[in-house]
């Protein structure tokens, strides 16, 4: 099955990003394909490489980047939401990019399942 994910909250402040990540990992483990993770609202701050949590905590941006690299999906931040929040190409982790809501429309249409994580 092909799965599109929409993540609407930023890292750490809400569990949404963690749940989305665990869900994506489990879906891949079960043989499904994660097509893309689209970031909206504060969700766009999940992919800034400027985040630098304490060493004993998860690095949410690095973790998404790594999972995407291993399994061939992109993490896409909405351009309008990114501009509002100071996210641009200079701060993105590897494997993420900035795109428009038209891309989200495609993701919503072309996948067997579309799963939102928010708060």
């Amino acid at each position: 099955m092909n799965i599109g994910i929409l993540l609407k909250e930023g890292p750490y402040n809400h569990q949404a990003s963690d749940t989305a990540f665990k869900f994506a990992e489990a879906a891949i483990k079960k043989g499904h394909r994660v097509d893309a993770v689209f970031l909206y609202n504060d969700g766009v701050t999940n992919v800034t490489k400027l985040m630098d949590p304490p060493q004993d905590d998860r690095n949410i941006a690095a973790r998404w980047s790594e999972l995407g690299r291993q399994h061939g999906f992109e993490i896409l931040a909405c351009i309008a939401a990114s501009k509002r929040r100071g996210i641009n190409d200079d701060v993105l982790v590897e494997g993420s990019s900035i795109t428009g809501l038209g891309t989200l429309t495609d993701i919503a249409i072309r996948n067997d399942r579309f799963v939102t994580f928010g708060d």
Binding site: L6, Y40, A80, F114
Partner: protein
């Protein structure tokens, strides 16, 4: 289907939700928008945000018609329990009971809450 569930100015969810709806509508998707809970406050007439320093957007809902988003549904109970009626809303909507909104939801491939 888009579901608006937040009041308009306390958080950005409704505003960014509306932005998403407008773009998706421009891609000629067959969209419906449902207002549930505090989401109905987004349609309240007479909003004036000039003194809180936030751009108002309630009039944008009037533009949805031009984007072929013609299906605006409002949850009847949400409206009633807030002491509001159709006359209090800035656009024409279809007021629907939860049973029928629930059935409509079940038919959807994609539902996005805002």
């Amino acid at each position: 289907m888009h579901v608006l569930r937040h009041a308009p100015h306390g958080t950005i969810y409704t505003y960014e939700g509306l932005e998403m709806i407008l773009i998706m509508a421009a891609y000629e998707q067959d969209l419906s928008v449902v207002f549930i809970g505090d989401g109905v406050y987004a349609l309240k007439k007479g909003q004036d945000t000039s003194a809180i320093g936030i751009k108002g957007f309630s009039r944008t809902f009037m533009a949805l018609d031009g984007y072929d988003v013609e299906k605006l549904y409002v949850d009847q109970l949400s409206l009633e329990e807030r002491g509001l009626g159709e006359d209090d809303l800035i656009v024409g909507v279809e007021v629907m009971n939860s049973e029928n909104i629930g059935k409509l939801m079940k038919e959807q491939d994609v539902i996005i809450h805002h």
